[in-house]
């Protein structure tokens, strides 16, 4: 009885694994190819030119990785602070013009963010926010916030207000009600939103270039000219590095979450 299930499970995991990893194979091959003519399936020669440039050259890759991650993490932290109260209000209260508020918050999903950024650029120029990390962080919030709000709203929808009422009756103040009852319930939503927020922030090119004016150099800024300019080897190497950076960040998030739950279960048991 059990064996077919295990078998199917294995096949499914292998399939998922292949689907996720297969796209990386041509990237890896391209990044190391030297002469790759049709109809050869594999490159004739291997060359580390692209990797040498990306990892050790004058390209400033590592600093760009640092700046990218810094911006993505700040953007995500700000998003959490903004999205929790916003989601709370949107799910639990009904007020006049709620549809309008929702429309405004979710508009960046539909409207291309650079449309807004063209206008923001002038204002930021006057305020002296261009060419700064803060300016870029602010600009990244508009395309990322909707996803965070959406994810946390879903968490709120499954959290009855009764839970908090019960805690209140047991004497919990507003702060402990939030940290002990609401937050643990929201956490999966926050993590889902944070993953999206990090990924979207990392991949912004145009917004980062316009607001950062080239003074805030993220990995996307280095990567983009190669993708559109036609050096497939270097573009592939950068893409792999980019994917690696994103995956490591998400894994890091996952590890932190697991630790948190272990700690929590230990606390409740102990």
């Amino acid at each position: 009885m059990k064996n077919p299930l295990v078998f199917i499970k294995i096949i499914l995991s292998v399939l998922v694994f292949l689907l996720m990893l297969l796209p990386f194979v041509p990237l890896i091959l391209t990044s190391m190819s030297f002469g790759w003519q049709w109809p050869a399936i594999l490159p004739e020669l291997i060359s580390f030119r692209a990797w040498d440039y990306v990892l050790f050259g004058s390209s400033g890759t590592w600093q760009a990785v640092g700046v990218s991650l810094l911006i993505a993490l700040i953007v995500t932290a700000v998003n959490v602070l903004l999205a929790v109260p916003a989601a709370n209000a949107l799910v639990r209260n009904s007020f006049r013009g709620k549809w309008l508020m929702e429309a405004i918050i979710f508009a960046p999903i539909i409207i291309p963010p650079f449309v807004a950024v063209m206008g923001i650029h002038l204002t930021f120029l006057k305020l002296g926010l261009t060419e700064t990390v803060i300016g870029v962080v602010l600009a990244h919030i508009s395309p990322t916030l909707p996803y965070m709000v959406r994810a946390i709203m879903i968490s709120y929808q499954t959290l009855s207000i009764d839970w908090e009422d019960q805690a209140r009756m047991l004497g919990a103040g507003p702060i402990s009600r939030f940290t002990l009852v609401v937050l643990p319930h929201l956490l999966p939503g926050i993590v889902a939103g944070a993953s999206l927020s990090i990924l979207i922030s990392l991949s912004q090119y145009l917004i980062t270039f316009i607001i950062g004016s080239g003074q805030v150099v993220t990995l996307s800024i280095l990567l983009f000219p190669f993708i559109s300019g036609g050096d497939p080897a270097i573009a592939s190497a950068y893409s792999l590095l980019f994917a690696g950076m994103a995956i490591m960040t998400l894994l890091g998030l996952d590890v932190l979450l697991k630790k948190y739950y272990q700690q929590k279960s230990r606390d409740t048991l102990g």
């Binding site: 030119r49 120029l125 060419e131 090119y205 145009l206 080239g214 003074q215 300019g229 036609g230 270097i234």
Partner: protein, 415 residues
């Protein structure tokens, strides 16, 4: 509470803008002096400055040439720090400068920008460039033929000293010698070649820069030479009918193109990929040394060669300029001057660094400097400098280019 925050921040803004205004007036005076003072003074005030150079960042060779060849020399010899800022499209920085002009931003981060053609015209029309500085540069005065049309005009627009020439580009066709030993030398021969080698030729869909340049060659050859177009497009009354042989030619080769002409590669990068993988037998480039450096990188086969048409191919000059609000104008002048030095131009000529043709006038160089340039190994895929020089045609002004790009969609792509 809210009011006081608002008041405080607006007060802060007011004081800040008042301060910057004073500084503005001072720096404006100082920088205007740079346009008239002698070179030593400029070099002195450049020492210690950091110069941000905004340029297309999609070529490892060019990036390394700037970072590892030019920047250390500038630092060592002039104490100027050159900081290369990669970007994708010069249009983006022109748009930013338009905004900065509108917002009165007086201390910008762009010190040197790399432009030509349409971007230069937009920048000039919107007063985004600093001033007539090129006459101040020693190497410009020593080694540049100022009256040559390709130096004095940029795609038909008078340069007026607002930008200094950095290099020249010339259109070449790229083919695989082992597959087609006798490349076509005129548009008529190309049409024959295309029919004999179906699906081996194509060109990037307009408005791609290189695809558009290819069509301009068709224009020159099918309508009787370039001379007639050295005037504004509006002054040719029967331009529409004049262009017809060009559309006829393009439509006549269309059925024999890659994918039977049903579609065109969307960019030169895509077309180069088709050539690199052997799917088509010919590509083209506005950079005569690109093929050689692609061979070095192992992307194009060893038997790749370039050729020009007997009737000549288009060439243009690319320039360096200084935006109106650069914060390091003296440093920018020193950097641009250094980039124009015979040594830097010779290094730039090598396909290992870049392969870009020099902007300097060969006859003004000393014999040693000429030898140094002639000694550069251009690679088997690049034509000799004299062969390129002898087949040079001037560019069209941008009003024609617009008409051709619109017309192509209507007459060729849609039919």
């Amino acid at each position: 509470m809210k009011n006081s925050v608002f008041l405080a921040s607006s007060f802060l803004l007011l004081t800040l803008s008042a301060c910057s205004q004073n500084v503005d007036e001072q720096t404006a005076k100082e920088t205007d002096q740079l346009l008239t003072s002698d070179w030593q003074t400029i070099a002195d005030s450049a020492a210690g400055q950091q110069v941000n150079m905004y340029m297309w960042g999609g070529s490892e060779n060019i990036n390394q040439y700037i970072d590892e060849w030019v920047a250390p020399r500038l630092k060592k010899e002039h104490d100027v720090e050159l900081n290369r800022i990669p970007m994708n499209d010069s249009q983006d920085i022109i748009n930013q400068l338009v905004d900065e002009k509108f917002a009165d931003k007086s201390s910008g981060s762009m010190d040197v920008i790399w432009i030509n053609g349409e971007n230069f015209k937009t920048a000039k029309d919107n007063d985004l460039l600093w001033g007539s500085f090129s006459g101040q540069l020693p190497y410009f005065n020593d080694f540049i033929d100022k009256d040559a049309p390709e130096i004095a005009y940029d795609f038909g627009e008078p340069v007026d000293g607002l930008e200094a020439p950095w290099g020249k580009a010339q259109f070449v066709f790229v083919h695989d010698e082992s597959k087609s030993p006798n490349p076509p030398k005129s548009m008529n021969q190309l049409a024959e070649w295309v029919q004999e080698n179906p699906r081996q030729f194509t060109y990037p869909a307009l408005p791609d820069f290189t695809g558009s340049a290819f069509v301009r060659h068709v224009l020159y050859e099918t309508t009787g030479g370039y001379e007639q177009y050295q005037q504004p497009a509006a002054s040719i009354p029967d331009l529409e009918t004049k262009l017809e042989p060009m559309w006829d030619y393009l439509n006549s080769i269309e059925p024999y193109l890659w994918r039977d002409g049903e579609t065109y590669p969307e960019s030169l990068a895509k077309q180069d990929q088709l050539y690199a993988s052997g799917e088509i037998g010919m590509t083209m480039s506005y950079d005569p040394a690109l093929a050689a450096s692609e061979v070095l990188k192992g992307r194009f086969t060893e038997s790749t060669r370039t050729f020009v048409l007997d009737g000549g191919t288009l060439s243009n000059t690319h320039f360096l300029s200084i935006p109106f609000n650069s914060s390091a104008k003296a440093g920018a002048m020193v950097a641009i001057n250094e980039l124009m030095s015979p040594e830097a131009q010779t290094a730039k000529l090598s396909p290992e660094n870049w392969g870009d043709l020099t902007a300097l006038d060969f006859t003004l160089l000393s014999l040693e400097q000429q030898d140094a340039m002639n000694d550069v190994d251009l690679g088997a895929a690049t034509l000799s400098l004299t062969e390129l020089e002898e087949h040079r045609l001037p560019e069209l002004s941008s009003d024609y280019i617009e008409i051709i790009e619109k017309g192509w969609l209507q007459h060729v792509a849609k039919e």
